[in-house]
């Protein structure tokens, strides 16, 4: 990182943190700069790492090295261009073609594996601990997991009024949910503090960074 880069990073960090006091023009400047730089960066990197290797180089190979099989990239390229037909009212309907392809592809690809990952494997994960009940803690852990799953599922079971036994189980489900939310919140606090530590570490190491230039 150059000296100028370090100073810019430092100034922008302070601009962003100034929001903690109150909203101000320095924060707004840093925020808008971030959005602009991100958009420009995304465009540039997408051009170099996607457009060139996926479209330009194959077409160039087809033209100069007579690798005609590479011309296949014209089809997805045309599909991509059709995405922009939405901007021309007369040809707006053509956007349905790439969208239909995308939706069909996504559904076909993701449904079977998502079922496998998020349903079958999770059922296995819930039941599997009962196959190796070695000690009292494993037994208690297995019971807690199974009870948690059943009670939480019952909380989201809306086909029957939540009264009596069903109501009691679903109320127990809310306790499991609260524990999960608490754990999630605790981890979120940890994550946010880590980000603050990262920035403070950067600011405190500023002299040594500049010395090493």
């Amino acid at each position: 990182m150059t000296v100028l880069g370090i100073w810019i990073a430092t100034a922008l960090t302070l601009c962003i943190y100034s929001f903690l006091y109150k909203d101000n023009p320095f924060f707004k400047f840093a925020e808008h700069l971030f959005v602009g730089v991100s958009a420009g960066y995304l465009l540039a990197i997408t051009y170099h790492t996607n457009f060139l290797p996926y479209i330009y180089y194959p077409l160039r190979a087809a033209a100069t090295e007579r690798k005609y099989s590479e011309l296949i990239v014209i089809i997805p390229s045309l599909m991509g261009i059709l995405m922009f037909s939405k901007f021309i009212p007369k040809f707006g309907w053509m956007v349905r073609l790439p969208f239909a392809f995308l939706m069909g592809y996504s559904a076909g690809v993701s449904i079977p594996v998502t079922m496998q990952t998020d349903i079958f494997q999770q059922i296995y994960g819930t039941a599997e601990p009962f196959s190796k009940l070695d000690d009292i803690w494993t037994i208690l852990n297995s019971i807690a997991i199974t009870a948690g799953v059943i009670c939480t599922l019952m909380y989201f079971f809306f086909s029957r009024e939540q009264k009596g036994v069903v109501g009691g189980i679903s109320e127990l489900g809310t306790f499991f949910l609260m524990i999960a939310f608490g754990a999630s919140f605790g981890y979120t606090v940890m994550a946010r503090i880590s980000l603050l530590i990262g920035r403070i570490d950067f600011l405190l190491s500023l002299p040594s960074l500049l010395k090493g230039m």
Binding site: L52, Y187, M190
Partner: protein, 277 residues
Amino acid sequence: MQIKKLERLSNMDRRIIYLLIGVVVIIPFFMPMNLPIYVSPSVQSIYDYIESLSPGSVVVFGFNFGPSTMPELYPMSLAVLRHCYYRNLRVIGLTFYSTGAVIGDDAMQTVASEFGYKEHEDYTYLGYKSSKSDAIILGMGEDISIPFPTDYSNYPVSKIPMMQNIKNYNDISLIVDFGSGNSPDWWITYAGARYHEKIAIGCTGVMVSGLYPYLKAGQLVGLIGGLKGAAEYEKLISKPAKATLGMNAQSIAHLAIILLVVFGNVIFLLEKHRSER
């Protein structure tokens, strides 16, 4: 008089709390406390799995995070990279995040220079590929050079010496994804379920509780969560770095937050008690 004091405390300016947290985070940087770090089983299992790999095995690194989560994920990616290089493993890096492209390149070059690793012989950085990550992950199951015809520097993958014997997941022993978004789910769903590939995840603290079910169900080799996980891994490879340094500040900040929560609840209960009287 006391009621007024309680009201004032319960309406405390939030900026005082920001200042307090800022101070408790800064102090440990000047007064290191060397608080103990205990290694959790989910981190240990990744270490053990990498230890079990034979030299020359291939590990894929996904640098799927940006500068906003670098303090958490960058230290752990360096720690796992160092472990892989200690073990003489070959590494392929890639990212689905545009902002991760430069970070991944920097991480791989930094650690490679420490070990004298050579690009295209010991490691390869494929760089960034956008949007349809599911298609890229599935494509890698057939032939890596289909989704990645060139590497980060636009050098043809087919001409990279290291990649000559690496075609698809059959030649890859482990995928380690450092993700701050959906990338862990993509790897688990497409590389894990479809190709039965071994997957380890390093994630931000926010994501840990959402990924534990996958760990419990045996869909992950292990899970490194947040800065704490990174510090645990640094301890395992006996190379304390940024994460270990940050853990002191983290612990003190957590203590301060716990005290603030208790303090807030005590004030709330006292106020409630007085209003009922």
